[in-house]
C-alpha cells in the first residue's frame, strides 16, 4: 500500500516547508549589496570664528582655516561645500604617541575677514598664513565652492617691533569690480580685480602703527577707502586713499584726552562711517577710556568736531547702524552692564538712545540683524534676548543650551530696507557655545540644525558594541534612533524576503551582525563626551558635558570601557571617576574623589585596563590606577566597575590580596623627555604587609626591570603598543607552503619606540640585537664616505613592558620624520622619510619564535620547543625578519584591520596624503617576499609574492573613495560579528569617516548581490503547493483503485 505512505510523507514535507516558511522572517541575512552604502563622512569646521548670513546661505569660517557655506534650510546642518586653506610652508610639528600631532601646537591659516561679494557672488576671505606671515585673498564661487582666484601678498619688511604692537588683522573693502585688501599690520593696501584677482594697484604706504577700521568710498568714477588707525604719535588718524592716487590724504588726526589708545591695548579704536552724497563722509570714532565712559570724535570732512558720550561703560562690541541719513553716522554699542545704546552723530552733535536695558549678569555678546538686536544673556539660563531697534521693545527670547561663546543672526531670504518690520519667525539665530556646538534656531525656538564642532578636537575614541534594548525595555532619555532599531514590524521582515533590502531595513538587521557600533568621542578642550551611532550616517546618540568643578579646571579626562559602561577618569584636583551607561549616557555611579596627591599634574596618574582574572573571564576589565606623585613611591588601586563606586571604599575586593588575582600584575612607565633619551621602567604590584597610609590606595609596586636607549641624544618621536585583544586571538603560527610552521612571537606586552639622533652611527652595544637592512648598510657606507658628516638616524627599538628587556633594535640612516608606527600581532610597520633618496619608505619587521618542520608535528609527534608564556622565559630574543618598501605618497597614519576571530587575512590601512585611506594586503608587506626568481614550489604554494620595492596604490583599494579627510591622523578599527567584515573609523582634524571593510576583498559570509530572492521564494512556494496537490492526487488515486 504505497499511497497512504506517500500521503503521510507529503503531509510531513508540507509541514516542514511551512515551518521553514514561518521561520524565514526571523532569519536575518546581510546582502553584499549593502556594502558601500553605510559609509558616512562628516565634514567639520572646528571653532567657528566668523559667520555671515547671506539670504539662505550661511558663510562660516573657523580658526582651523576652514571656510564653508551651509544652507539655512537644511535640516541636518550639512555643509554645501567646505574649503580648507592650506599652509604655504610645512611646519615641523611635535608628534604625539601613536604618530598623531598635537593639535594645540598645530598652526592653521587665520581667517581675518569673510564676506560675500554681492555682484560677483563670490565668497571672499582675507587670511594670514602663520608660516610665512603673508596675507592672502581667496575667492570661491558661492554655489559650488570652486576656487576662482587666490592672491598671496608676501610679508613686507616692516620692522618686527612695529608689527608686535600692531593689531593682527586685515580688512576687505568691496567694490562692484574691485576688492581692496588692507593689511592691518603694515597698513599696505592692495586693489585687486574681483574677476580674476589680478593686482590693479598698490597704495602708497600709510604712516599708521595699526589699522583699525576701513570704510570703502565709492563715488562712482572715483573709488577709495578711508583708513582709520593709530598713528605713531598715539593719535587716531584717518586717511583717504584714492584708487590710483599718488599718496594717501590725511583727513584728520584726533587725540583722545581721556585715557588713550595704546594704554588700553588693541583693538581700541573703531571706525564706522557711511558715504554721503557729494563726496561727503561722516566718521564716528569710538574709543574706550580709562573710566567707564565712552569717547567719540566726529571726523566729518565738512565740519569736524569732538564730543563725549556716556554712560554705559567700556565699549565691548560696536555694532554699525544702518540708519541712512546724510552726513551722519550711528552705531550700537554694548556696554559691560549689558545695555545696548545707539549713538548717532549728526552735524557735530551726539545723540544716544537706549535700545536694550541693562542686564546683569550679562554676556559681552551681541549682534545686529536688520531691525533686530540680539543679546546673549544667562539670567534665565543661557539664551538670546531679541530687541527691536526702532522702539527698543523685546520681541522674544531664543533658548540656548549652554553658555554662549559667539552669536550671529540673519533673516532668512535676506533683509531689505523696505522690510523693516520683518516677521520674527524669519529671524535665524546662530549661536556657538563654549563646547563648540553650533546651533541654528528660529525665533519660535525651533531647532533648524545643530553641529558638534568639538568633534574636530578628539582626544580619545572608543568603539563599543551597540546593545539593542530588549523588547519593552524603555530607556528614558534615549534617542528615537535606538528605539527604531529594536522595534521593526513583522511585515517589513516578510517584505525584505521578497524585495531587495532597503538601507533602513538593513540597518534593522545590523545589530545582529555586530555592524552597528557606538562611537564614543572624548573631546579634550571642551571636556565633552559624544556618542555617535555608526549606522544612520553617524547620528548623534547622546552628548554629555563632563563636570568641570572648582579645582578641576583643565582636567584631563580619559575613558575606558567596562562592559556596558564607560568609565571616565578625570585628572584634576583629587581626581574624579564617573561611570556612564554607554547606550543612554546616563550616569550610573561616580566617585567624587580618587584621593590623588594634590596638586596633581596631568601626567601623575597612570591608567591600565587589566583583564579580569581567569576565574571570571567574562567580567569586564578592571582599571588599575597608579599614582606616581606619591612621596613614598607609587601607589595603586583598582576600579572594578560601577558597583564598586556604589559600595564603600571602592568595592568588595578592593584592598584584598584576592583582587590581585592568581597572576602577578605588572605595569610600566615610559619616560620620553623632549631633551632626548628614553627609559622604560617596569613594576610589579603587591600588597604591602603593613597597613597603607591611604585605604583607597591599598597597593604598592616594586621595580622589576629598566631599560634605556643607548644614546642620550636619541629623541623619541613615536611609540606604538599592540592591541592586547588582537594578540590574544591571533593564530599562533604561520603555515608555509610545504606544510611547515613558523611560530609567531606573540607577546601582547610590547612597546615599539622610534627615536632619532643626528649623530654618526656607532656600533651598537653588544647586549642589543641589532640588525640593519641593506638600504641602511648602504646608507652607512655612503655616510662613511661623507667624511664623518652627521647623518640623521632612525632607531626602532622593541621592548618588553613586563621584563623591561630590549628585544630587537634596528637603525636606518638619512631618515627624517614624521615617523608613523603600528604594532600588530608579531608585525611592526613603520614609515619614515628617506631624505637621501627623497622618498617615503615603509619598514616591515616580523618576529618569530621558532620553526616546526612539516613532519615535526603530527598525530603522534610533537615538536621539541619551549613554550614561552612568560616575559621572563626564554633567554633568546625572537627571530626578526625585516624588509623595506617604498610608498609613493607621504604617510599620515597607519592602522590594521581587526576581525572577530582573526581568521581573515590581515591588511594594513595606510592613511596617506591628501587624506585618503588605502587597504593594503599584508602579503605585500611580508618581509619574506623572495628576491630570487623564479619562485619555488613551496613559495608559490604559500602565496608569497616576488619582492618588489614599490607598493601599489590601486584605486579600488582606496576605501575613502572620493572623500578627503583633512588632517587625517588616526585610524580605529573594530570587528563585527561577520568574520569577513571590519569596521573602520578615520579621524582627521576636520573630518570623520566610517565605513565597512573586507580585508580579504571577498565578503565570503555575505549573500551576493545577485541572490535571486524572487526565484527562491517562488520555488519554495511552488514546492509547497506541488507537494500538497500531489498528496491529494495520490489520495484520490488510492481511493479509486480501492473501489475498482
Amino acid at each position: 500500500m504505497p499511497y497512504p505512505c506517500f500521503r503521510r510523507i507529503s503531509i510531513f514535507v508540507s509541514f516542514m516547508y511551512l515551518s521553514f516558511l514561518f521561520l524565514i522572517p526571523s532569519v536575518y541575512a546581510l546582502y553584499e549589496e549593502d556594502a558601500g552604502k553605510f559609509d558616512w563622512h562628516k565634514s567639520l569646521l572646528g571653532p567657528v570664528c566668523h559667520a555671515r548670513f547671506e539670504g539662505n546661505f550661511l558663510l562660516l569660517a573657523s580658526s582651523y582655516g576652514a571656510v564653508a557655506v551651509a544652507s539655512a534650510s537644511n535640516s541636518d546642518g550639512s555643509l554645501l561645500w567646505r574649503q580648507v586653506i592650506p599652509l604655504a610652508a610645512p611646519v615641523a610639528l611635535p608628534v604625539r604617541d601613536g604618530g598623531t600631532m598635537d593639535k594645540d601646537e598645530k598652526p592653521a591659516v587665520k581667517v581675518l575677514e569673510l564676506v560675500l561679494h554681492p555682484q560677483k557672488r563670490l565668497v571672499m576671505a582675507l587670511t594670514r598664513d602663520p608660516s610665512t606671515a603673508a596675507l592672502g585673498v581667496w575667492a570661491w564661487r558661492l554655489f559650488d565652492g570652486n576656487l576662482m582666484w587666490h592672491v598671496t601678498v608676501p610679508a613686507s619688511g616692516v620692522p618686527l617691533g612695529k608689527r608686535v604692537k600692531a593689531k593682527e588683522g586685515g580688512f576687505l573693502a568691496l567694490f562692484p569690480d574691485t576688492v581692496g585688501a588692507v593689511d592691518g599690520e603694515t597698513g599696505e593696501i592692495y586693489f585687486l580685480s574681483a574677476v580674476d584677482g589680478t593686482r590693479i594697484w598698490k597704495a602708497p604706504a600709510i604712516e599708521l602703527m595699526a589699522v583699525t577700521g576701513v570704510v570703502p568710498v565709492d563715488g562712482g568714477t572715483e573709488k577709495g577707502v578711508v583708513v582709520v588707525g593709530e598713528g605713531s604719535d598715539g593719535k587716531a588718524q584717518a586717511f583717504l586713499v584714492r584708487l590710483g592716487g599718488e599718496k594717501a590724504e590725511k583727513i584728520k588726526s584726533v587725540s583722545f584726552s581721556d585715557g588713550g589708545l595704546i594704554s588700553h591695548g588693541t583693538p581700541s579704536l573703531h571706525a564706522f562711517a557711511r558715504p554721503a552724497p557729494a563726496r561727503s563722509l561722516a566718521l564716528l570714532l569710538l574709543s574706550p577710556s580709562s573710566s567707564s565712559s565712552l569717547s567719540a570724535a566726529d571726523m566729518q570732512l565738512v565740519n569736524p568736531s569732538g564730543a563725549k558720550a556716556t554712560p554705559h561703560g567700556v565699549l565691548s562690541s560696536p555694532i554699525p547702524s544702518s540708519h541712512p541719513s546724510s552726513l551722519s553716522a550711528s552705531c550700537l554699542v554694548l556696554s559691560d552692564s549689558g545695555a545696548v545704546v545707539e549713538i548717532t552723530l549728526t552735524q557735530g552733535k551726539f545723540m544716544q538712545r537706549l535700545v536694550a536695558p541693562p542686564s546683569s549678569p550679562s554676556l559681552p555678546l551681541a549682534f545686529r540683524a536688520g531691525p533686530y538686536v540680539l543679546r546673549g544673556e544667562e539670567n534665565q539660563g543661557p539664551g538670546v534676548e531679541v530687541f527691536r531697534v526702532v522702539d527698543g521693545q523685546s520681541v522674544g527670547r531664543v533658548r540656548g543650551r549652554r553658555s554662549l561663546r559667539g552669536l550671529w543672526a540673519g533673516i532668512r531670504g535676506g533683509w531689505r530696507e523696505e522690510e523693516k518690520e520683518g516677521r520674527e519667525s524669519d529671524l535665524l539665530v546662530l549661536t556657538v557655545d563654549k563646547a563648540e556646538t553650533l546651533v541654528l534656531q528660529t525665533m519660535d525656538d525651533r531647532l533648524v540644525w545643530l553641529r558638534e564642532e568639538c568633534l574636530a578636537d578628539v582626544a580619545q575614541v572608543l568603539i563599543v558594541d551597540h546593545r539593542p534594548p530588549a523588547e519593552g525595555e524603555k530607556r528614558s532619555g534615549t534617542e528615537d534612533v535606538t528605539e527604531a532599531l529594536a522595534t521593526s514590524p513583522l511585515f517589513e521582515k516578510l517584505l525584505s524576503v521578497v524585495l531587495p533590502p532597503s538601507p533602513s531595513s538593513s540597518s534593522v538587521r545590523d545589530p545582529h551582525f555586530g555592524l552597528t557600533k557606538i562611537l564614543l568621542f572624548l573631546c579634550a578642550p571642551s571636556s565633552r563626551l559624544i556618542a555617535l551611532l555608526s549606522s544612520h550616517g553617524g547620528t548623534i546618540l547622546w552628548t554629555r558635558d563632563l563636570p568641570s568643578v572648582e579645582g578641576r579646571e583643565g582636567a584631563r579626562w580619559r575613558m575606558v570601557q567596562q562592559g556596558d559602561e564607560v568609565l571616565l577618569v578625570g585628572e584634576g584636583g583629587e581626581g574624579l571617576a564617573i561611570w556612564l551607561d554607554i547606550v543612554t549616557g546616563h550616569e550610573i555611579a561616580s566617585l567624587p574623589t580618587l584621593g590623588l596627591t594634590p596638586p596633581a599634574p596631568s601626567s601623575s596618574l597612570l591608567l591600565f585596563p587589566i583583564a579580569s582574572s581567569s576565574s571570571s573571564s567574562s567580567s569586564p576589565p578592571r582599571l588599575l590606577l597608579v599614582d606616581t606623585r606619591n612621596a613614598t613611591g607609587h601607589r595603586a588601586r583598582f576600579l572594578d566597575g560601577s558597583s564598586c563606586a556604589q559600595g564603600a571604599l571602592g568595592g568588595r575586593e578592593a584592598g584584598t590580596e584576592e583582587s590581585l588575582g592568581d597572576r602577578p600584575i605588572f605595569y610600566h612607565t615610559l619616560s620620553t623627555p623632549s631633551s632626548g633619551g628614553a627609559s622604560l621602567q617596569t613594576y610589579r604590584l603587591f600588597k604591602p604587609s603593613s597597613a597603607p597610609s591611604s585605604p583607597n590606595w591599598p597597593f604598592q609596586s616594586a621595580v622589576v626591570g629598566a631599560s634605556s636607549l643607548p644614546s642620550p641624544s636619541e629623541l623619541v618621536v613615536s611609540t606604538a603598543y599592540p592591541d592586547v585583544r588582537e594578540t590574544m586571538t591571533a593564530p599562533s603560527s604561520h603555515p608555509l607552503g610545504d606544510g611547515a610552521l613558523l611560530l609567531k612571537y606573540l607577546n601582547p606586552y610590547l612597546v615599539a619606540l622610534a627615536s632619532t639622533a643626528s649623530l654618526p652611527p656607532s656600533p651598537p652595544p653588544a647586549s642589543l640585537n641589532v640588525t640593519r637592512d641593506e638600504g641602511s648598510q648602504e646608507g652607512r657606507r655612503q655616510g662613511g664616505d661623507e667624511g664623518g658628516k652627521e647623518v640623521s638616524t632612525l632607531y626602532v627599538t622593541l621592548m618588553d613592558t613586563v621584563s623591561g628587556r630590549v628585544l630587537y633594535r634596528v637603525s636606518h640612516f638619512h631618515v627624517q620624520g614624521p615617523v608613523r608606527m603600528r604594532l600588530v600581532e608579531n608585525w611592526l610597520i613603520y614609515s619614515y622619510w628617506n631624505c637621501k633618496a627623497q622618498r617615503t619608505e615603509i619598514g616591515s619587521i616580523t618576529l618569530y619564535d621558532g620553526f616546526i618542520d612539516r613532519k615535526g608535528l603530527g598525530l603522534f609527534t610533537s615538536p621539541e620547543f619551549k613554550e614561552r608564556t612568560s616575559s621572563f622565559d626564554g633567554d633568546a630574543s625572537p627571530v626578526a625578519l625585516q624588509q623595506t618598501f617604498l610608498f609613493p605618497h607621504p604617510i599620515l597614519t597607519l592602522g590594521s584591520t581587526l576581525t572577530a576571530r582573526g581568521i581573515t587575512t590581515k591588511a594594513l590601512l595606510v592613511g596617506f596624503e591628501p587624506g585618503q585611506i588605502l587597504l593594503l594586503d599584508r602579503r605585500l608587506l611580508d618581509p619574506r617576499r623572495p628576491t630570487a626568481l623564479p619562485l619555488s614550489k613551496t613559495e608559490k604554494a604559500e602565496g608569497l609574492l616576488p619582492y618588489a620595492p614599490h607598493l601599489p596604490v590601486l584605486p579600488p583599494h582606496v576605501v575613502t573613495y572620493n572623500h578627503t579627510l583633512h588632517g587625517l591622523h588616526s585610524l580605529y578599527t573594530a570587528p563585527s560579528s561577520l568574520e569577513s567584515t571590519t569596521l573602520l573609523l578615520g579621524v582627521g582634524d576636520l573630518d570623520l569617516y566610517f565605513t565597512r571593510l573586507y580585508p580579504s576583498h571577498k565578503p565570503f559570509d555575505l549573500l551576493p548581490d545577485t541572490f535571486n530572492h524572487v526565484l527562491v521564494s517562488l520555488v519554495l512556494l511552488i514546492s509547497v503547493v506541488g507537494v500538497g496537490f500531489l498528496g491529494k492526487a495520490a489520495q484520490a488515486k488510492a481511493l479509486r483503485e480501492a473501489w475498482a
Binding site: Q460, P664, F666, L670, M728, A740, S870
Partner: protein, 178 residues
C-alpha cells in the same frame, strides 16, 4: 538449460569426455558448462572419480586466481585517470579519487562474497584473497596518495596546528596605558 539427452549422448564415451576436459586452456564458460554438466551427471549417477575431483579443484583454483587478479586489470586505467585529473581540487579529481576509494573499500568489505562461487571448502582461497586484498590496497593507496597530493590528508604539521599550545595564556598580567 542443460538437458539429459544432450549430456547422455556424450557420456557414452567417458574417455572422450576426459580428453575434452583435460584441454588446458579451456574457456571459462566451456569449463563451467562442462563442470555443471558433469556435476549433474555425477549427481544422477552418484559416481565421482578422484581425477575428476582433482580436476575440479584445479579449475576452481584457476577461477579464484582470476578473480583475485581482477583489480590489477583496472589499475593502469585508474592511475592514468588520476594522473590526468591534475593536482588541483576540482569536481573531476574529487570524483575520481572518491570512486577509487569507494570501490576499493567496497571490494575490501566484500572479499568473501567475491569468492563465494569458488568456495566449496575443498580448495584454499587464502592466496587469492590475499592477492585480491593486496591489489585493492594498492588501489586504496593510489587514492590516498592522490588525496595527499591534493592536500586532503592531514599529513603535515599545518594539519595539526590545533595541537600547538595556545598563546592566549600569559603568566603575567599587564596592559597598555590609556
Amino acid at each position: 538449460m542443460y538437458t539429459d539427452w544432450n549430456f547422455c549422448s556424450v557420456g557414452a564415451s567417458s574417455s572422450s569426455l576426459t580428453q575434452a576436459v583435460e584441454k588446458p586452456l579451456a574457456s571459462y564458460h566451456e569449463v563451467h558448462e562442462g563442470l555443471a554438466s558433469r556435476q549433474v551427471h555425477e549427481a544422477r549417477t552418484g559416481k565421482v572419480t578422484n581425477e575428476e575431483m582433482t580436476l575440479e579443484r584445479q579449475l576452481k583454483q584457476k577461477v579464484a586466481m582470476d578473480i583475485a587478479q581482477t583489480p590489477a586489470k583496472a589499475l593502469a586505467m585508474q592511475g592514468f585517470m588520476m594522473y590526468m585529473t591534475g593536482s588541483s581540487v576540482s569536481i573531476i579529481s574529487i570524483m575520481v579519487v572518491g570512486m577509487s576509494l569507494l570501490n576499493s573499500a567496497q571490494a575490501l568489505a566484500a572479499v568473501n562474497q567475491r569468492f563465494e562461487r569458488v568456495a566449496d571448502g575443498h580448495i584454499s582461497l587464502i592466496l587469492p584473497k590475499l592477492i585480491y586484498v593486496a591489489l585493492n590496497c594498492v588501489f586504496l593507496g593510489m587514492g590516498l596518495y592522490k588525496c595527499s597530493s591534493l592536500g586532503l590528508l592531514p599529513s603535515t604539521a599545518v594539519d595539526f596546528i590545533s595541537r600547538l599550545p595556545s598563546t592566549a595564556y600569559r603568566a603575567e598580567v599587564s596592559s597598555v596605558p590609556v
